[in-house]
């Protein structure tokens, strides 16, 4: 067991890797009532192709990671989800672009719930019949998202930035793609992406770390899990086709999204986590509520409190995005473009503004530490190996120079793309 102390934040993070490769991360919070546990594999909707032990590569239909997540809960003679309920624990699961996570929280029966979490995720059961039934339920889920304008806006933007790529596809897939999923495919994926070396168990809350570790070890020793070599294939990204796209939708006001795609400067690990923190402060300096730019547009009714910016790095994808609800999206387009063209001037003499934003961002980071769920899920653990505490420390070390350097990387010669959801 290794313990890292975060002195200022008064937090400890205990880590351990078992002989079979399973990683365990524990954050004890003895003054809480609840414990939150998550078992994660770094396999998500972006994975399109893989190979085991140098065999022929296998293609993964869109929506499979999410489908597998649903299916793991169903066993031959029981429902894994209901079993959490029987223990009084509250369970859930989610799939995003780059990870699949299974989680529960509870104030009682912690040990049985943890062994159940490990057992149900590590013991697959797929049959032709249950796979067919799931195709029906997920069909409903896909329909539900089809009616959600915010989802349509986000997907529309990603399609404009990254035409035909896996990030622009719905995480749930389509009715057609999920219809091609078979039990054999699910077993193959499970043995590749759910082997212990690919799994991390995080536990945050009220528990005894030594006791938990012993229980997890005992549980893993009992299982004979096959280890194999996993090869992932990264996606070849197509160039952007259009600068503007649009779609009609059932909305009362147009929703508009803008994006800037960054193809250069691929970054990984801590550097990537840092770049996101820097870009967020940079975007606040250029487009935040406290800027004259924002104030001017807000007071003219061109943007409202729905306006937001984001910066994402997800594997090979790196992009800035802007979201708004407005009739005046032509004016907004010009205003964003001109702020980007003018970024060097806007950032001049902004050292003080940077420092106050930095303090505020650190303060916001500290406020997130109340929530066990945030501690376990809002770090960049899966993508870059940095937790929420690391991020607060990284933030404290940033300088204004970091902002200026990153501004050049993001906004020099940037191409702004737009997607509109019309009423």
């Amino acid at each position: 067991m290794k313990t890292k102390h975060y002195l200022k934040l008064k937090e400890d993070v205990i880590t351990e890797t078992l002989d079979n490769g399973l990683s365990i991360v524990m954050v004890p919070k003895s003054n809480y009532h609840k414990t939150f546990a998550v078992l994660t594999t770094a396999y998500g909707a972006l994975d399109q192709e893989f190979a085991i032990d140098d065999a022929q590569p296998i293609k993964i239909p869109a929506g499979t990671a999410h489908f597998l997540e649903h299916k793991l809960f169903e066993k031959e003679n029981e429902d894994a989800f209901a079993k959490f309920g029987e223990l009084g624990a509250d369970a859930n699961a989610f799939t995003n672009a780059y990870q699949t996570s299974y989680l529960f929280s509870t104030t009682q029966n912690l040990i049985p719930a943890i062994t159940h979490l490990l057992d149900f995720v590590q013991t697959p059961y797929f049959s032709k019949q249950t796979v067919e039934k799931e195709q029906g339920i997920i069909g409903q889920e896909i329909q539900m998202y089809d009616d959600d304008p915010n989802w349509a806006l986000y997907m529309g933007l990603l399609n404009t930035l990254y035409p035909d790529s896996s990030i622009a596809k719905d995480i749930a897939g389509t009715r057609e793609t999920i219809a091609t999923i078979t039990p054999e495919l699910l077993y193959a994926i499970h043995s590749a992406f759910y082997q212990p070396t690919q799994l991390t168990l995080q536990i945050v809350g009220h528990f005894n770390p030594k006791e938990i570790l012993a229980v997890v070890k005992e549980n893993q020793v009992k299982k004979s899990l096959k280890l194999s070599k996993l090869t992932r294939f990264s996606e070849k990204l197509l160039p952007t086709k259009e600068q503007q796209a649009e779609r009609y939708f059932n909305v009362s006001r147009p929703k508009v999204a803008f994006g800037i795609r960054l193809d250069q400067n691929q970054v990984v690990g801590i550097e990537a986590a840092k770049r996101i923190l820097i870009a967020d402060i940079l975007n606040d300096l250029l487009f935040g509520e406290q800027t004259d730019w924002y104030q001017n547009l807000y007071s003219h009714g061109i943007i409202d409190t729905e306006f937001e910016t984001a910066f994402d790095i997800i594997k090979d994808y790196q992009y800035v995005s802007f979201f708004a609800e407005t009739e005046d999206y032509e004016i907004l387009t010009q205003e964003i473009q001109s702020q980007i063209d003018n970024y060097q001037n806007v950032l001049k003499n902004q050292q003080n503004a940077f420092e106050s934003l930095q303090r505020a961002t650190v303060g916001e980071g500290i406020q997130k530490l109340n929530s066990l769920e945030s501690m376990a899920l809002q770090g960049d653990d899966v993508l870059f190996g940095t937790n929420l505490f690391d991020k607060i420390e990284l933030l404290q070390d940033l300088t204004f120079d970091d902002i200026l350097v990153t501004a050049d990387k993001i906004y020099r010669n940037a191409t702004l793309q737009r997607f509109v959801l019309h009423k």
């Binding site: 009532h33 429902d79 624990a89 509250d90 104030t107 339920i137 924002y294 106050s356 303090r359 109340n370």
Partner: protein, 421 residues
């Protein structure tokens, strides 16, 4: 729970704790719901969210929250039964965790006092420029309810469920009423709120009781505020005739089925624990009949749940489903209710559901906002159930109690939203 009265006007509850890395202040103004004033009160909350005499623009308010180490300042409106609430909340990082944060506590109280008591006003009316912006912004928000079919359906269900006009409107009011407001009416509404509403304050964090009281004594709280205390609970005489509305809407894929059932149990009757367990068994948890049978076994609806509203005595059911399956799903929902009425459920499931209700209840202690919500609820209802009593009451609910509670359900209204064919 210890209550202090500040300046003969406001009730204060202080919750000292080192469990969290934050400090919270919440101020709640409540009064009986009057449909004439709901929209204006919502607009007050919008105006106070972005401006004050000292911080004249949203930009200045945003800068101030940045200077308060990333404080979260928020204004909200909501209703509890027949009372309407305007609530101001401020969250800042706990001073212990930030460098140079000694003054933060004082600054936080000063800022909140400014936002509540010192609005941006010219000649007894809200500043016109800010007013026009926020009026538009609220109208946009109300218009966008239509874009979210679940929110829209629940609003429609509300309209046909209640007999009293004040109960039919949403807590945020309606677009048309907002369009007709002017800066001086809304200022009058604000004055009434400050001077006549019940005012409750809850403060939570690593704090010293005496220090908080002395900070609050500087606030300009008048002596008249506790003049009329309103009970939030609402109960309606059950209707014999079902009200049903079916509406078609273009460009949606899925249908929504929503229903409101009345359960005739007085607010503080001990049977409320049975109703709570019954709701959890019907559709309030993943172990429930609606979830297990309608969703999991028959794949009829991806989202389906029931919710028990203690404040109004209604239990609502909502399902998002394939338009062709509305009738079938409705029938199946009725079968689940009937099953509970007839005692067709097993003890094991009931025990699990009780455990999960108790776990949820204890988990609330891990969230500052839930702890504060409990304190507000105790202030508003003037009732307090201890932790042990609450747990004991849930545990002692029997299968008979659950059956009885289900037998009290009476369907009052049904609203169905269908895609246009």
């Amino acid at each position: 729970m210890k209550k202090t009265i500040i300046n003969h006007g406001a009730n204060l509850v202080i919750l000292p704790t080192t469990q969290f890395k934050t400090l919270h202040i919440a101020v709640d103004f409540s009064t009986s719901v009057d449909p004439k004033h709901i929209s204006a009160r919502t607009l007050v909350s919008y105006l106070a969210g972005v401006s004050s005499a000292r911080y004249k623009t949203q930009q200045q308010v945003a800068q101030k929250t940045i200077d308060l180490y990333g404080a979260h300042y928020q204004t909200d409106v909501f209703r509890i039964g027949q009372t309407h609430h305007v609530r101001f909340t401020l969250q800042v990082p706990a001073p212990t965790y930030i460098m140079g944060g000694k003054q933060l506590l004082t600054e936080a109280f000063d800022f909140l006092s400014e936002m509540i008591f010192n609005p941006l006003v010219d000649n007894h009316a809200f500043n016109e420029r800010v007013f026009a912006n926020e009026q538009q912004s609220l109208m946009n928000e109300l218009a966008s309810v239509k874009d979210d079919k679940s929110r829209y359906s629940m609003a429609k269900l509300r309209e046909i469920t209640y007999d009293k006009p004040g109960m039919c409107v949403s807590a945020s009011g309606n677009e048309e009423a907002v369009a007709n407001l002017n800066p001086s009416d809304v200022y009058q509404t604000y004055q009434n709120m400050i001077n006549e509403d019940t005012m409750n304050i809850v403060v939570l964090g690593d704090i010293n009781q005496q220090q908080i009281i002395s900070l609050l004594q500087k606030w300009p709280i008048g002596p008249h505020q506790a003049k009329e205390d309103k009970e939030p609970f609402y109960r309606q005489v059950p209707r014999v005739q079902l009200r049903e509305v079916v509406e078609h809407k273009a460009a949606i894929n899925q249908a929504m089925l929503t229903m409101a059932y009345q359960i005739n149990v007085e607010p503080f009757d001990d049977q409320r624990f049975a109703v709570m367990v019954m709701n959890a068994l019907l559709g309030g948890t993943p172990l429930s009949k609606l979830f297990m049978n309608v969703r999991e076994k028959e794949s009829l609806a991806y989202s389906i749940y029931s919710r028990w509203q203690h404040d109004t005595g209604f239990l609502t059911i909502a399902a998002g489903l394939d338009a062709a399956k509305v009738r079938q799903t409705d029938m199946m929902i009725q079968e689940q209710i009937k099953a509970i009425q007839e005692g067709d459920f097993d003890n094991q499931t009931v025990d699990a559901i009780k455990m999960s209700l108790i776990s949820d209840y204890l988990s609330q202690r891990d969230s500052p906002s839930s702890q504060m919500e409990v304190a507000f609820s105790r202030l508003l209802t003037r009732r307090e159930t201890s932790e042990q009593e609450w747990i004991d009451r849930v545990r002692s609910v029997t299968a008979d109690d659950i059956q009885n509670a289900a037998q009290k359900m009476s369907l009052q209204s049904r609203y169905i939203l269908l895609p246009e064919v």
